[in-house]
Amino acid sequence: MLLGTNLTAKIGCKTLLDNVNFMVKPHEVVVIIGPNGAGKSSLLKALCGDIALTGGAVSINQQNLDDYSIAELAQLRAVLTQNYELDFPFTVNEVVDMAHVAHQEQFSNTALKRFSNNAMQALGVYHLAQQCFTRLSGGEKQRTQLARVLCQLQPSLINKQSAYLLIDEPTSSLDLYHQYEVMTQARDIAKQGAGVVAVVHDLSLAASFADRLYMMDEGEVVASGTPEEVLSQTRLNEIYKINAKLQIGLNDTLPHILINKKAC
């Protein structure tokens, strides 16, 4: 279980997180939503230990985050951030292979190679394996990075360890097909035993794939629970200032946010 209790973070006089409680269990997809500046990315960073907390603590599998070494953490959780600074001409295959470093002591090279290939196939970038990463489109880059974190998680999933995947806006530069494809993939990773935490902007996408939602505003969690519970008409109005409601799967469709003609 990945657990954050009473998380508080401040930079100067600005409060990024205010007494946030958060939990994700294996086999579960939890999505963090909220308007711009609500503290979604800060919460995700706090959960990976990337920002210093002024209060509260994060624990993974009942052990405090600070008690793990950097190398141990890399075996327990993978993180996909919003920005990639990679400006050097590595091939897609080389980028995915970078995940090996976390597990190189426990697994043979052939096993590690297989993890890379599986991950590239799962994300549909196997045909790009020998292409130069810097020349890919935005969506291809994102899928490559996702393949890298999937490759990092696979050994833990095979060993039935509780591992976690944290993703910050995985779908921001993807077209509709790949958005749903990536989230399906995240669901699949959860089914294999990982706990998945994702920051997602698109409420319909969040409602379609999340087991539970955390809705944030101004550094606080304002609601958490199933999509139906969280995305109520009043809360959408209060937090997002839009006149909208959640439409739960008619026939064979996924949940969707319907926005009133008088949106605001």
Partner: protein, 350 residues
């Protein structure tokens, strides 16, 4: 798809071939450089001189006291500068970076110029007791002093940020530049000549005893940098990403900074400023072999040794009996190369 496959195969082949090919090239250049010069010595003579079986006193002296020390210094310094360049380009995540960015060269220049100019007045004790070692030791101390200063500026509250390293480097370079200017202003004619030639770099006039500390420091730093190949690859993904993959990023940055400062400091102290080797060699290697530091590091080391020994061979044979400063040669190759790289980058970005 087929064409794609073949370029990849060729890159893999290049990688496998690069190290032995460069090694052989170094050996060939080694013998050519020993044989060429004012007095031409044949390869068979060189071998018997190295084996101590020849009895030509003059040629023996030329090889053992002039050409061999100089050649070994060229190879070691070239290797060290190229390794540091590769590491700096990785740590700044910018293929145009070079060890000068962190103030190593300017610190060494300040130390050397101060020793030359103030050696007869303020530092008379220092200069007298150390004799010919005064300038190299002054340069090394200057380099370490400036690097420690920049390190302290960049490292605070357990962090070591690259942007503050870069800014501190730029600021300190400017300050040091003005100090050197003041020293130049108060120097006499002989001192001015000495410091000008120092700043153009020279591999001449060193004997083994003087080179030994430099060689030891450079070899030590190169070995250390070689072992950082894999972490440096991950570092290129971004600092947060590398950390999430299990790399201690702060430690990595500090290691690279320290090894680069030691290695470049040791090289600059004894040879003066030799520009562009640290920048061009890793760049060319990256164009041919790709950015993977597990290959980039060793091939840069061999490539640096090869390039600097060739440049020195050219510098001392092209205008016999005079010789060109080595820094002029490397800058003359490096400057145009840098421009071509820039233009190509702009063209590619359209």
């Amino acid at each position: 798809m087929l064409a794609l496959g073949s370029t990849v195969i060729s890159q893999n082949q290049h990688r496998r071939m690069a190290i032995p090919a460069l090694f052989v090239a170094c050996v060939i250049v080694f013998f050519i450089a020993l044989s060429k010069g004012g007095v031409v010595i044949s390869i068979s003579e060189i071998i018997s001189i190295i084996n101590q079986t020849a009895d030509d006193e003059l040629k023996h002296a030329i090889i053992w006291q002039i050409r061999l020390p100089r050649l070994i210094l060229a190879m070691i310094v070239g290797a060290g500068l190229a390794a540091c360049g590769a590491a700096m380009q990785a740590i700044f995540r910018n293929p145009l970076a070079d060890p000068g960015l962190i103030g190593v060269s300017s610190g060494a220049a300040l130390g050397a110029v101060a020793t030359i100019v103030l050696g007869t007045s303020l530092f008379a004790n220092f200069s007298d007791s150390l004799g010919i070692y005064a300038v190299p030791i002054g340069a090394f101390l200057g380099c370490i002093g400036v690097c420690v200063f920049i390190y302290r500026l960049s490292a605070h509250s357990g962090q070591f940020t690259i942007i503050s390293l870069l800014l501190a480097g730029i600021a300190v370079n400017a300050i040091v530049g003005s100090l050197i200017g003041v020293l130049t202003l108060i120097s006499n004619d002989q001192q001015l000549r000495d410091l000008t030639f120092w700043s153009m770099g020279s591999l001449a006039g060193n004997h083994f005893a003087m080179m030994l500390p430099t060689i030891a420091l450079i070899i030590f730093s190169c070995m250390a940098l070689l072992r950082l190949g894999k972490p440096l690859n991950l570092y290129l993904l971004g600092e947060a990403q590398a950390k999430h993959l299990g790399i201690n990023v702060t430690k990595l940055k500090k290691q690279v900074f320290i090894y680069t400062a030691l290695c470049t400091g040791a090289a600059v102290a004894i040879t003066g400023i030799i520009g562009f080797v640290g920048f061009i060699v890793p760049h060319i290697v990256r164009l041919v072999l790709g950015p993977d530091h597990r290959y980039l590091m060793p091939t840069s080391i061999l490539g640096g040794a090869l390039l600097l020994s060739l440049a020195d061979l050219f510098a001392r044979t092209v205008m016999l009996p005079a010789e060109l400063p080595i820094g002029l040669i490397t800058s003359a190759i490096g400057g145009p190369f840098f421009l071509i790289m820039l233009l190509k980058t702009y063209q590619r970005r359209g």
